[in-house]
Symmetry: C2
Subunit: 411 residues, 2 copies
């Protein structure tokens, strides 16, 4: 088993050594006397910190970055995004996902929950680039029965090539997937032991249409009424929730994914943090796709989440740096059942090495505050996922070739 020793690194204001054996944090304490190790990293003037778990994205939409901004949602989708998406080939998806993974690694993310098309291409990119992911097999009824059948067949036959790669069952949303298919997919997810991920209550329009079509039920109430919500559900956005919705999400143990940048950029609304706190809901963070963000930085996402909450609810004490940091890190790992998200002995070895000599982290009055409110990707030197080094001292293997493949313009 490979061993990696990080010497003299700051962990919560203590200086320790960190010994990684295989894919696990074997030992964390000052002055470890290890025998022969395969590699030593000097942690002087650096901190070790848990990385990000991006719980909602459409990774290969990196290809559409900057294509059609600043317009109304429907015009954006119908005139820009959908026509371009229709042209994307499997090879495009592979290349776009690789670009997304480069961007995620550089900004400290080691896991993403994806929802898109051509899942096999996404899995290929994830496998090669050594990141963790749960690839959503997406369902939209309009795309036809044949695709639905193929996707179900794929799910039923799927055997993961590696422990760090899983799939999830991803009915897109209540306005694109009907009751029968939702229920069928829910059953498949139970039988296969997979997460069910979906968009929920993203826009006011969705809520209004749902209530009109379903006896005044909100999207959350509707999904509860058809029996598809439980602690395996991962619901993205959840911007427009009632008190009763929050009760349901709490009692069912649903995980919510907050996507502040996309909700702001598309003018969808502001995540109701006071309500979320009142019901102590399980919350993670996600960047959503690049075309509604327009990057995949969880660092930025944390700051947007905290500042949006404060201004929206006129309370500067709302959503502290520590709370949003937990949403972006361990809450994601916990929701996925990944034994990580903490720098602790026995946990899977996911971590970042951060340069404390970066001007944004000086003075170091409070590292988590600096991390959430001040840092950017330049602070991140080294990224370790499942015991593998994905980036070392700012260098990602093959990056040049990966970027070269996606440089052409879409337009």
């Amino acid at each position: 088993m490979n061993t990696l020793l990080i010497k003299n690194i700051s962990l919560k204001n203590r200086i320790v050594d960190v010994l990684i054996e295989g894919n696990v944090f074997k030992q964390i304490e000052p002055n470890i006397k290890a025998g022969k190790v395969d590699k030593i990293i000097d942690g002087t003037n650096r901190a070790i910190i848990q990385p990000f778990y991006n719980m909602h994205t459409h990774s290969s939409m990196t290809l559409l970055r900057g294509y059609g901004d600043d317009m109304r949602l429907f015009q954006w989708l119908s005139e820009y995004i959908w026509p371009q998406e229709a042209k994307l080939t499997p090879e495009d998806i592979y290349n776009g996902t690789r670009l997304a993974i480069v961007e995620m690694i550089r900004s400290g993310t080691v896991f993403f929950l994806d929802m898109y098309w051509h899942h096999s291409e996404i899995i290929r990119a994830v496998e090669e680039m050594k990141i963790r992911a749960s690839i959503g097999v997406s369902f939209i009824e309009e795309r036809g029965k044949r695709e639905i059948e193929q996707n179900i067949k794929f799910i039923n036959g799927f055997v993961s090539p590696l422990e760090r790669i899983s799939i999830n069952v991803a009915p897109h949303a209540i306005y694109t997937v009907g009751k029968d298919l939702y229920q069928e997919l829910y059953m498949i997810s139970k039988v296969k032991g997979l997460k069910l991920s979906t968009h929920l209550a993203e826009t006011m329009q969705e809520v209004k249409s749902c209530k009109k079509a379903n006896n005044n039920l909100t999207p959350t109430e509707f999904l509860e009424s058809i029996g598809v919500l439980d602690d395996n559900t991962i619901a993205a956005h959840c911007v427009h929730l009632t008190e009763h919705d929050a009760e349901i999400l709490s009692s069912k143990g649903v995980t919510l994914v907050h996507n502040p940048c996309a909700n702001m950029k598309l003018a969808s609304g502001s995540f109701n943090v006071p309500l979320i706190n009142k019901y102590d809901l399980k919350v993670c963070l996600g960047t959503d796709g690049t075309s509604s963000n327009n990057n995949l930085s969880m660092l930025e996402e944390m700051k947007f989440a905290a500042l949006l909450a404060k201004v929206s609810y006129k309370d500067s004490s709302l959503l502290s740096a520590n709370q949003v940091f937990a949403w972006a890190t361990k809450n994601g790992a916990d929701a996925m059942g990944i034994n990580s998200g903490r720098i602790k002995e026995g946990r899977l070895a996911d971590c970042l090495i951060v340069n404390l000599n970066n001007e944004r982290l000086i003075p170091n009055n409070n590292l988590i505050s600096n991390w959430v409110y001040s840092a950017d990707s330049r602070c991140i030197e080294t990224v370790i996922c499942d015991g593998n080094i994905l980036m070392e001292n700012h260098i990602i293997p093959n990056e040049e070739e990966i970027l070269e493949k996606v440089k052409r313009k879409i337009m």
Copy 2:
């Protein structure tokens, strides 16, 4: 005169050469046949772009970064910020300003309008580090007559050591400076030909107190009534404006500075972009001080401004990337009367060289969109201000020594 030639660089989707002579863009066109030049920079796979003009900050508050976050405004000021500020020595201010300037250079800023204490120390740091600045000589009545007299004497005697450095007259706000002193400072600013910078309508509390104390006049109406608003006025924040306030600010030609991060973090409110657009007000962008942000990145500030406007006014087409980019760049230069903010022959040579091979700028469907919504400071390779190279290929001279001086914790 020093000459610098940047070869084969992308400027608005054209590939050009850029010849800088002294502190001016001398020639911009493809394939310049220059004679002997002092230095050549290869611009291949890079873009040249106008840098940022940070129109409202308190630079040396970098020293208080991460000190006392996530709390109510008054508790934050009275228990954390003011007691610490009282302890800062002139040497601290010098060192804190140098840290701020490192951070600004790295994030592409070449000018800042400052408002703080110990202005001589700030000027010293600015002079050494070759950035542009207008240093506010600040006034708060509570700090006593002696300081007010000294500051007025300083203003009256001030002769700038360099064209890129100016001072401005900075009455803090209507709740810290009374009518008589405001009027006196206004007259001094007119006589000396200086800008008058002030905080205005930052919080609802300020508006309420002002109306109560001044026959129901809003802060803007009050300043108009005492005759101190004109096209030399630079008003920071301006969060809570009425229609009549906007009319006044328009007719007087006042420049507004939007500080979205600080307004969000302190829960002050959302800048009224529809009203600003309706009256076509002059708007710039600023980061405010580090302790309410907590960095000095104008890149981040642009994204926060655009996304906050969209979500606040439920309109995803509001405040486009191009509009907010103009606020952050040429509008600042114009407000200060600096003949810059554009990459054009005859203008002062302020520019950034940006790496188009950075993953956040790929694909390059729209550089301004990528810049506003996706980029971070890692994209910026080289910063040129007034013809001087402040950072070349990510390297700032003396950076290590500057950072070392400010590493100790405040607490």
